[in-house]
Amino acid sequence: MNKLIVSPSPHVHSGDSVQKNMYGVLLALVPALAASVWFFGLGALIVTLTSVLACVLFEHLIQKYLLKKPSTIMDGSAAVTGLLLAFNLPTNIPLGLIIIGAAIAIGMGKMSFGGLGQNPFNPALVGRVFLLISFPVQMTSWPVPIAARGAYIDAVTGPTPLSVVKEGLAAGRPFSELTAEIPSYLNLFMGQMGGSAGEVAGVALLLGLGYMLIKKIVTWHIPVAVVGSIAVFTGVLHLSDPQAYASPLFHLLTGGVLLGAFFMATDYASSPMSKRGMLLYGAGIGIITVLIRIYGSYPEGVSFAILIMNAFTPLIDKYIKPKRFGEKPAVQKA
């Protein structure tokens, strides 16, 4: 007989692992990737491939040669960051910029804090916002969907629905008139609009979220809180003046709200641990997003909103604890 193992309980494990969760996220992003390739063709392929490879390579190099530890790229988290970074970039962005973005995302956003689980900010967003601030022109020119499928750098570009509406409303034009110049809600939901590689197709992102919920990779709290708070906030504004403020559905379907709510805000390390904390954090993201969109200079705002709330995560975790058993007052019958 073998030597008996003696260890404390529990003696069984769920079989869950870091890899399962990370590869699960990658799988959940496949529909959005397919939509991206459908709408933006060659550019989408080049951007995602470059970003994923660059992120994985940077992590491997940093871990192995700088930190002199075993490489961690097989856990899948570097690939997730790479894919999410790509999804937040326009599909005509030059290779050099992608590589800079990947270096910032992995190097500064993740590894400098100690790697997986330690990053206070979503690494992909750190990369994206760095690029947005440093290269605003390249980061805000958007290839038009389908028509530009065969091209990469020289793809025909056009305005995004969000910028059309933002500028239109700023110029005092009524919202009902502007809706004629942008795709229908159905087309917005299907993803037929200009925008970052992976953010356009709401339907694909929703599928991915469904998969993550079934597989228990994430819970509903953050996505619902983000989407719900944006819907409520913009809904109130829209009702107060339907012509001066865009409709809630428009806000939700454009500018990467769903990508942000489902995949970026739910990053494990940079989001709160308790359900109540998650709801507060999600609501914070929604509110800040709307404030930026309505009063700020950027048409979108989800990325900044998530990064701002990332910064509040430690505070939220400190003060908002999970609901305890027995918190509900006991009803003792007389």
């Binding site: 008996l4 003696v6 870091v18 641990m273 604890k321 058993f325 027995g326």
Partner: protein, 445 residues
């Protein structure tokens, strides 16, 4: 929607391989070893010495206080010695070793199978009898049963909850008991209700035992005030606080006992032992033990005399599989890994589980990825990811603030963690330490 408890919980693979194996009576072994500490509280004091002749059912060790329990001889024969043996805890503890001769019982024990339904004993007499018979919580907690039947002054009980949940994977002894001894069990419940002076009893059974639910529902219809509550399969539903919450929607406050919300919980095995003690005058000398495991040839449920070495049970279930890497006393979530096959069955042994390699070994530990899954599954609403480093770094005051003492050691957090972190190992350590600090504080205050 089926009822269950409100917070957290997990659903490990059930693997109830022995669910359809009727209880078999295991032959009386040639030698038994009976530890004096097989219940929570003070170890019993031996009343016999080497060379003494004993009969089945004779008291051989006496309860050493209010929270303690008598121990009766499970066999007839001669005391070989009173010595130290390694028990389930892995330490050497005092035990009485008896060489079996024949099977001669104390005269006034009713060994017939005739059901005695009529209850004549007064509440006081029932509680006294339960104390004398050495009955402890048979679900595995081994808390002396008579203590739970004597509510502290000022507290009243209005509902008796009977735990037929058997939420631990693999184990089936309670399941078989409900199917095979349902009538006796119900009389036992009636006895407990009489002792506690309550009008209502709820038998909680998880939905993975539909036959037991149906059977008990049919039988219970003839007993006023007793009803069956089917429950959604969810671990750790057998935890007292979780079961009360699931059955009645009452949550026992932190640091308090079930009586605080008017409930007392007993296991089905305990209720059956109460029947035998009060109606048949039979003390606790045997119990049903599930012997199971993924590689075991013949998973079974044995009616086993206390003190039987587990090697005898394993042999009877088809022998120790070659790939055995771990032997567990109890279920896989809360059971104890045993150090040898010579450890005896005690009152709290609900099962013997043989874990094959490689399942017996733990997976390598990864860093915490802050996935918050441990928080989601904790039935007490704690933050295991936070408690572990606090215990690791010995920051006891913070651990106390984070309510480490609320932990019921169910293991759901460690079970779930994708990084396979040994959360409960450290939380247990922290509980021991914080408990010590809290006690010394009340002692000096």
């Amino acid at each position: 929607m089926l009822k269950t408890f409100s917070l957290g919980g997990v659903h490990p693979a059930e693997n109830k391989r022995s669910a359809n194996s009727p209880v078999e009576v295991l032959p009386v072994p040639p030698v038994v070893s009976i530890p004096l500490a097989q219940h929570i509280g003070a170890p019993a004091q031996a009343l016999v010495k080497k060379g003494d002749e004993v009969k089945v059912g004779q008291v051989i060790a006496q309860s050493a206080g209010f929270v303690s329990a008598n121990i009766h001889s499970p066999v007839s024969g001669k005391v070989a010695k009173v010595d130290q043996i390694v028990d389930a805890s892995g330490y050497r503890k005092d035990a009485i070793i008896i060489n079996t001769e024949g099977d001669e019982w104390v005269e006034d024990i009713d060994r017939s199978a005739i059901l005695v339904k009529e209850i004549t004993a007064s509440p006081e007499a029932i509680i006294k009898k339960i104390g004398e018979a050495g009955i402890v919580g048979l679900g595995g907690a081994t808390f002396p049963a008579h203590v739970k039947l004597s509510p502290p002054p000022g507290k009243t009980c209005d509902v008796l909850i009977i735990n037929g949940v058997e939420c631990e994977p693999y184990l089936t002894s309670d399941h078989r008991l409900m199917l095979e001894k349902g009538e006796e069990l119900l009389v036992g419940i009636r006895l407990l209700m009489t002792a506690l002076n309550v009008k209502k009893a709820i038998i909680g059974i998880e939905n993975n035992k539909p036959d037991a639910i149906a059977h008990m529902e049919k039988l219970a219809s003839e007993y006023e005030g007793v009803r069956v509550q089917p429950l959604k399969v969810q671990y750790p539903q057998g935890g007292e606080k979780q079961l009360i919450d699931a059955c009645m929607g009452r949550q026992v406050p932190s640091g308090k006992l079930p009586i605080e919300v008017g409930a007392v919980v007993h296991n089905v095995g305990t209720a059956y032992a109460v029947y035998e003690a009060v109606q048949k005058n039979k003390p606790l000398i045997e119990r049903i033990v599930t012997v199971t495991g993924l590689s075991l040839a013949r998973p079974a449920n044995f009616l086993t005399r206390i003190g039987t070495p587990i090697s005898v049970l394993i042999e009877a279930a088809g022998g120790l599989p070659d790939d055995t890497g771990k032997i567990i006393g109890g279920g896989p979530m809360m059971g104890k890994a045993l150090t040898s096959t010579e450890i005896p069955v005690t009152k709290g042994t609900s099962g013997i589980l043989l874990m094959p390699q490689p399942l017996a070994s733990r997976k390598p530990v990864d860093p915490c990825i802050r996935c918050s899954k441990c928080v989601s599954v904790c039935p007490m609403g704690l933050s295991p990811y936070l408690l572990m480093p606090l215990a690791e770094k010995a920051i006891w005051d913070r651990a106390e603030e984070e309510n480490i003492m609320d932990c019921i050691e169910c293991g759901s957090c460690s079970f779930t963690c994708p990084s396979s972190r040994p959360l409960l190992d450290y939380i247990r350590l922290g509980k021991a330490k914080v408990g010590q600090i809290m006690r010394s504080r009340t002692a000096t205050a």
